[in-house]
């Protein structure tokens, strides 16, 4: 045995984990292109990784590990096709795989890995899948997160998450969800769906509505990574730039946003010195680039709002009037009452809590079950010197809170007026 080439099983496992995180998207994309079967692509990749663990522990890393995995996974697929009793229907895919394998064998070089990630993400974010499923499948397929990691992020059991993923792959194959980049006339809408999935992933981590927050913060980083990938695959898209800018600008506040006890620190009390200036600079540069394209959209507007916060040396000197105007523009794009709620918050700092309370009347029915609505109203009432009404709103907001840090924060504020 060659001592230099040998490595421990632990070493091989680490190498495979690193490779899985970096290359799963490209490997699955290539396998899906060849096999046209999502579950089979996934299973063959898993088998190839298991086989890599065995071979690499014994013989050391091959010269091109990802190529090695692809070649092995293709052979697993060839085996499966041969054993399949419905072989006839897959004869074409079988032929493609066999030819690819022979090409590789002839040159003795590991196969090049084609980049099919754009097609893959359009498939994972297809509107015929449930929105939570889209996020989970994207994390599994494009980011290479394990099913266990995704389950933890969603506070779900591994079994339930595994079943969800199997069901999703089954539907993609059986219902004929295409592995294709949509036609130009549908591109815009489908691209929006992809960006929405990425933003949903980010918010899942950022707002951490349930369960243990620290586990979920990884989701923010994954979402930023996906956003960057989309920028790479579809450069010059203003909304995509806006989305990445928005995520960077929001994420930059994370170090100042959580107290030592895990409670969320409100924007007005955050130590802005803790904000990540590197992320802010990158976010602002991306936003400027996006705005110069003169194709305004909701992500750019939200990023612009976040950038105004990042710009302000403190809460009081924030350009609240400008933020109110940006929320107006945003509501013009997306008729979401939450934007009107945020507008009211900005208004309370621009002109005063009384006007903000008035502005809440129009959205009261829509947002009655929405915790932030009552938290905002409680805050306006507190600042308008109406402690008794404020207390009512705080109690309602606490009742609607989904996690401990929100409850801690609201109880803290309520105690201040008592």
């Amino acid at each position: 045995m060659n001592a230099a080439a040998s490595m421990t099983e632990d070493g091989a496992r680490k190498a495979i984990e690193t490779l899985a995180r970096a290359e799963t998207g490209r490997l699955l994309g290539a396998l899906l292109r060849d096999t046209r079967d999502f579950q089979m692509a996934e299973d063959c990749l898993q088998e190839a990784m298991a086989s890599a663990l065995e071979h690499w522990s014994r013989n050391g890393l091959p010269s091109a590990p990802a190529g090695w995995i692809l070649q092995t996974a293709r052979r697993k697929a060839i085996d499966r096709f041969r054993r399949d009793r419905n072989f006839d229907r897959k004869a074409h895919e079988y032929g493609v795989l066999l030819e690819l394998d022979q090409q590789t064998a002839a040159t003795d070089d590991p196969p090049a890995i084609p980049d099919e990630r754009l097609r893959l993400i359009f498939t994972c974010c297809h509107p015929a899948l449930e929105s939570k499923t889209r996020v989970a499948l994207t994390l599994r397929t494009l980011c290479g997160l394990t099913t266990r990691e995704i389950a933890r992020a969603f506070v779900d059991t591994t079994e339930a998450m595994a079943q969800r993923l199997v069901r999703a792959r089954h539907k993609i194959t059986k219902a004929g969800i295409p592995f294709e980049i949509p036609e130009p006339e549908h591109w815009g809408e489908r691209f929006k769906s992809v960006l929405a999935v990425i933003y949903l992933t980010f918010n899942e981590g950022y707002s951490a509505t349930e369960g243990a927050a620290p586990l979920r913060r990884d989701l923010c980083l994954e979402a930023i990574r996906l956003g960057r990938l989309m920028l790479e695959l579809a450069p010059r898209d203003a909304e995509c730039e806006g989305l990445v800018a928005l995520m960077l600008l929001n994420h930059a506040r994370t170090p100042g946003r959580l107290g030592p006890d895990g409670s969320i620190i409100a924007l007005d009390r955050q130590d802005r010195g803790l904000w990540n200036r590197v992320e802010i600079a990158e976010g602002q540069a991306l936003l400027d680039q996006a705005l110069a394209r003169k194709q305004t959209g909701p992500f750019q507007l939200q990023a612009a709002i976040s950038a105004l916060h990042a710009d302000a040396p403190d809460h009081r000197s924030t350009d609240w009037r400008q933020i109110v105007l940006l929320y107006d523009a945003l509501y013009g794009f997306v008729r979401n009452p939450v934007f009107l709620l945020n507008r009211a918050v900005a208004l309370s700092f621009a002109t005063g809590p009384e006007q903000a309370l008035e502005a809440l009347c129009t959205i009261e029915t829509d947002l009655d079950a929405y915790q932030p609505f009552h938290a905002a109203r409680a805050d306006f009432l507190r600042r308008a010197d109406r402690p008794i009404d404020a207390r009512q709103s705080y109690l309602r907001a606490i009742e609607l809170s989904g996690n401990e840090s929100d409850r801690l924060f609201l109880s803290g504020r309520m105690q201040e007026i008592e």
Binding site: N86, H126, K174, A175, G176, I177, P178, E180, P182, H186
Partner: protein
Amino acid sequence: MKYLALIYAAPGAGPDYGTPEFGPYMDGYRKATETYQNDGVMLAGEALQDSSTATTVRVRNGKIETMDGPFAETKEQLGGFYMFDCANLDEAIRYAAMIPTAEHGSIEVRPIMEINFDQ
């Protein structure tokens, strides 16, 4: 791939026969069917009689049992179907969306399972 587009609507949700809206509604069906035929995707398509005319059949212990009415009493009832031959789900969804009932009812798009009885 073959897809069945099942057309569901609540009774009385669409335009009634004899009202001015009924003509354009039926015209919509005629136009949609024409498009399917011209595009070469239509395998079949029929409208069904009212769900009150349905009979549900079961065989239990070798005995035929019949029941008056549809299998499931739901608010939206099956009123007709199309069968399409499409490249993928995106195409099937596009054609299903042209069915006039989609504007007040729901179209369920289901892929047809291919079964080979020779094996």
